[in-house]
Subunit: 142 residues, 2 copies
DNA sequence: CTTGAAGCTACATACACTGTAGCTAATGGG
DNA sequence: CCCATTAGCTACAGTGTATGTAGCTTCAAG
């Protein structure tokens, strides 16, 4: 039986985050000691590892909820899990494209800064005047 | 004199967002009509354009606050603005690198899915067992 | 039996908005 | 001048994904 702290260490999660996952129903309510402390078994360790790994791959908690549910029904079609993963891949590719445009713009901004006074600063100038941008970039909220 | 709605349209911002920026002190308190409605001039239009453009480039509101402050003092050294932009560029490059690793992993996951039952689903399997990953990826919170 | 680490709950905070409810002002047409 | 519509107003709650804090309790080792 693992304490919450041990589980946290084993999965690279903060203790609060585990309690948060429990609160939103992503992790089950575990057994408790007489004193009221949480104790976890291997099933919980596996589940939390799955969650953390999926989070590292950028899946939302909602997507993870679906994936967990699919995993709980071994007879179900794999197609849904595949769709979720494909959706995620697409999102990642979109973000990549946007970030690349941003990098270009930022690089240009920084390269042109001559180190003088802010009155002539290229960084501020570029920010002031969008028309100077060579690329499209619409990053907000990504 | 522009209404908040016109300003919103011209800058591609939601009306609420403009009021939010005012609330957090990023935009000044504008003049009001007798009836209490906000009216904006060109200075505000410029300022908001600057803010939105910087947001599109991924700068945080805090960074933007600093940049605005630098812009208000034309005699100051450009170095600070440059440092902020460089910091931002570095962040973008880090995110790019991480996203590339993620894409690789997700692509592999999706390619291997044979479309059978979830019991044999490669997508779920990969998520279950981190050791199957070929690349490092530590995306959370990016 | 004591001590100190680790656990507990409940609540606040972060970021950058977005949405809602319920009301008021401004504007254009008849 | 009156009415309807559009746009504005405030105040507050909610989003997602945690993280931090205060003040208390339990557990395990010595």
């Amino acid at each position: 039986m693992l304490t919450i702290g041990t589980l946290a260490k084993k999965t690279g999660t903060k203790v609060q985050t585990i309690r948060y996952y429990e609160q939103i129903g992503l992790m089950p309510e575990p057994d408790r000691t007489e004193g009221g402390q949480r104790r976890y078994g291997d099933a919980e360790l596996d589940r939390l590892s799955f969650v953390r790994h999926a989070r590292q791959l950028g899946f939302s908690l909602e997507a993870i909820r679906e994936l967990l549910d699919l995993g709980d029904h071994p007879g179900k079609s794999c197609a849904e899990a595949d769709a979720i993963a494909r959706r995620q891949l697409k999102q990642v590719e979109q973000r990549l494209a946007r970030l690349k445009a941003l990098r270009t713009e930022l690089k240009r901004m920084v390269q042109e800064c001559s180190g003088g006074q802010t009155a002539d600063c290229r960084v501020l100038e570029v920010l002031r005047d969008h028309s100077e941008c060579l690329t499209d970039h619409e990053e907000i909220g990504a």
